[in-house]
Amino acid sequence: MHPIELDGLTKRYGDVRGVEDLSLTVREGEVFGFLGPNGAGKTTTIRTLMGFQSPTAGTATVLGADVRDAAALRAARANVGYLPSEPGFDERVTGRRLLRYHGALRGDVRSETLLETFDPPLDRPVGDYSRGNRQMLAIVLAFMHDPDLVIMDEPTAGLDPLKQERFLSFVRAERARGKTFFFSSHVLGEVRKVCDRVGIVRDGRLAALEDVDDLLHRSGKAVRVEIAEPIEADAFALDGAHDVTVDGGGPEPGTAGAEEAPGAAGGTATAGATVSFTYTGRYEPLLRHLLGYEVVDLTVEEAPLEEVFMRFYDDGVAASPEPAAGTGALGDGDGGGP
């Protein structure tokens, strides 16, 4: 029995589609990233898994309980944590009272420990809480009964970077304890940090299902080389190098006198060229090629996942996730704000 199994799950709101024919399996002990831009159907899926709404067609099981069976799902929820991006609380009561209330409903075996890491001001009314404090309270509520499965819908949206980091390392520690996570997000950095596998939804359909490692491997490396001398634009047309750009005083091929120009300006820093590209080939040919230049600086990093995901989000190439078709300038295209 897998913690979560979606089997042709479909939810429509009248004529508006929520999700269409989603099938996937979340394995025990993994952090499954459920990715997609806003409006892709992530929240719809999660609300159906929690039993807040029933599927139009198809179904899903959560810890073996069919989501269409309210009684079975209710019992299963004893072992499920739920962490939404904007949790709804009664504004007039204190965090402590809410903790007691929800503890009575789901059991409380570790709120004290959790409160050492996530520490909202418990004695103040929740209505006075900042968004970060509300989210920390929600985290404590989601984990206080030590559930084996936690379903999270953009859980870090309200947290500042420091708290996000704290939360993500908490998730990693929980996974090490054998817990399973269903983690919806559109923030690729956090997905990269904690997820084992990802399912990518686009327009309510599953566009891809991938190992994060495979994805990273396939996305190649971002290479940036600073070279002392000007080079020609096609100098790095290697196998496996994509989107090569050459900046910084490089002459047009065959342009006479270009070499004097930077020298005349008197700046040695501008005399060379900076080449950047995405590289999916083996290291050896690249390193041999680099030996032919006077390399001032070299960085080789993992390519931003944004570039990989954008291929799934982009209509035209969604069906052909080929290596490193990275198109650059993608960082702001992933749905941006919450």
Partner: protein, 279 residues
């Protein structure tokens, strides 16, 4: 960890334990308003007990009433104005209970359901291993707080006040009126819960109930003196007649039982809708 393991094998709290937890939480938050209501209605009632004997002793109220159209007299509940009890039933209990408190309880029941539906509080709650039925039951039962507090405080204050003023009201009569008002008020609470489930939209659900309470009272009062009295039979206020108790000493236990049955039926309907709906 053992306790947790036990909770898990049982799949969360029992329905009774879950209902109790919801009730406690909701009831706590109703306490303050309930006490304020009890104080306000007690003061309003004392005013009646204090000035009404003078009006009745003045004697000319009968003449005034005779000059008014019968429908107005029925609407204002003046048909038994010749006594302190008559005026108290006709005015204080009509406006304080049949319209006022019924409206408050109905509105509270409606918004207690519709507000959490609107702002994701219900999701936070239902993420726990609790059934929707338990949440609805606990929410409804919390309406007992204003109903119980007001009906416990006001008759005692009125009796003590009337004694102090030298014209004691019937203790049994007061107790009976307030006891019989409980199923009446709970009926409106149930209608409120149903409205919250069906209408859903925050205060709109509450306003629907306020309109129903006022409309039901109006229809029942006006039709009671016409040949269309049967129309008013659908109004809960037909089953709760303070004047009959205080003036004639007649206890409509069958009416109270009818209201209790209606309350349960309305709650079951609300439950059926709530169990199936998408949040």
């Amino acid at each position: 960890m053992d306790a947790d393991g036990a909770a898990r094998t049982h799949g969360g709290p029992s329905a009774a334990a879950a209902t109790w937890a919801v009730f406690r939480f909701e009831a706590e938050r109703r306490l303050r308003a309930s006490v304020l209501l009890a104080v306000g209605l007690s003061a309003f009632g004392l005013l009646f007990v204090w000035i009404v004997p003078d009006i009745v002793a003045g004697g000319n109220i009968e003449e005034v009433l005779a000059s008014l159209p019968p429908a107005i007299v029925a609407l204002l509940g003046f048909d038994t104005a010749a006594s302190v009890e008559g005026l108290l039933a006709g005015e204080f209990y009509t406006f304080g209970w049949v319209v006022g408190l019924a409206g408050y309880v109905g509105y509270s029941g409606a918004t207690a359901v519709s507000a959490p539906l609107g702002d994701d509080r219900l999701e936070t709650l239902l993420a726990a291993p609790v059934a929707r039925g338990s949440v609805l039951a606990g929410t409804f039962l919390a309406l007992l707080v204003p109903v119980a507090v007001v009906n416990a405080v006001v008759p005692v204050v009125l009796y003590a006040g009337s004694r102090a003023l030298g014209a004691p009201l019937s203790a049994g009569g007061l107790a009976a009126v307030h006891a019989l008002s409980v199923p009446f008020l709970l009926t409106w609470g149930a209608v409120g819960v149903l409205s919250g489930v069906v209408v859903r939209r925050g205060r709109t659900a509450g306003r629907v109930v306020l309109a129903l309470v006022f409309g039901a009272w109006l229809v029942e009062s006006v039709t009671s003196i016409s040949t269309y009295a049967w129309v008013g039979a659908v109004s809960p206020s037909r089953q709760f007649d303070a004047a009959a108790v205080l003036v004639d000493g007649r206890l409509d236990v069958a009416g109270a039982a009818t209201l209790a049955v209606v309350t349960v039926a309305v709650l079951l309907a609300a439950q059926a809708v709530f169990a199936r709906r998408d949040l």
